[in-house]
Point group: C2
Chain length 193, copies 2
């Protein structure tokens, strides 16, 4: 039996590489180098690189939730202010990566949806979980009257998250924060009013 | 001197493969197989696969403009109807590919922006050209009063194109047209009213 901590070590160490280089540009060798384990040990822990991909999507979702989601649940802020604060945090995350990494969920969706139904399903699960948290904040903003209740909160949450993914993709192409600022200025405002 | 038509043959033949499989999952061998030319001939025509990537972005933009842009310039339709007709055509294009291919511009932006500044710059050029055509239709819709003139047409065009990219990425993850329908229902309506 392989030790579980080596498996986790590989998942943890591969996250940054898979996020910045993408799935197909990253070799098993890159991953084992990053984890500091022998290349041969990879297949003791994962039947395929695809299985690792599924685990990395799960880890990315957890890490992103821990790092960024707190403002969305901050009782000290009004619901609409929470949403704005949350997305400002995401913009800042992209600034720190100089608009080169984007969102791993968006990257893998465009790169791997056709290649791996298994990774695709995990991505969609991650989007749904994310959207559910945002929908809760939007529903609260609808309850306090700061966001109109003309559309279901769940639809607005999906629309915003999808539009965010597009803004992040464009910020990679433009190598600029302008698409993220445009998202904050135009998308957020128009979708939530 | 290599014959120019072999170079074009490789560019044309690689488009479908690069669109559906992505850049890094497609080998030079895949490309020369698709073009029906010997593998060794590739480097007579391209200094690198990256150079081919730049040419494929240009070709994709031209082909997409020819196939889809016509409704945006159709004088028989009112400007706002043109815009809706245009995006319905794009939705249909994604339906035909069963939500597996997405948009090559979005795919390459998320996959290659960090890897290739040369491809990234070509992608941003393609987005700008596309946005300029859409902005013209939006400006006409603002002139006839069907779209409010509170935001510059160029900003609305960018916001819509970026949001569209996100909807397409999500439709790949969801393997469903629902994100595209949500774009038509919520994004288009909210952004243009």
């Amino acid at each position: 039996m392989p030790k579980p901590n080596v498996r986790d070590q590989i998942i943890n160490a591969s996250l940054a590489t898979l996020h910045s280089k993408g799935f197909n540009a990253t070799s098993v060798q890159d991953i084992t180098d990053a984890a500091g384990v022998p290349k041969g040990s990879f297949y003791n822990h994962f039947a395929s690189k695809e299985i690792l991909g599924v685990e990395v999507v799960k880890l990315y979702s957890e890490v992103s939730a821990q790092r960024f989601l707190q403002p969305l649940q901050d009782p000290a802020l009004a619901p609409l202010a929470r949403i704005e604060h949350y997305f400002r945090g995401l913009v800042q995350g992209n600034v720190e990566h100089e608009f080169l990494c984007g969102c791993l969920l968006g990257n893998f969706s465009t790169e791997l949806a056709a290649q791996s139904p298994m990774i695709r399903d995990q991505l969609e699960q991650a989007f749904r979980d994310w959207s559910a948290v945002l929908a809760k904040a939007i529903a609260q903003a609808q309850q306090d009257g700061s966001v109109p209740a003309t559309e279901p909160a769940a639809e607005l949450a999906d629309a915003i998250i999808n539009a965010w993914q597009g803004a992040v993709a464009r910020s990679k192409a433009a190598h600029s924060r302008a698409p993220l600022d445009l998202f904050m200025k135009t998308l957020m405002t128009k979708l939530l009013k």
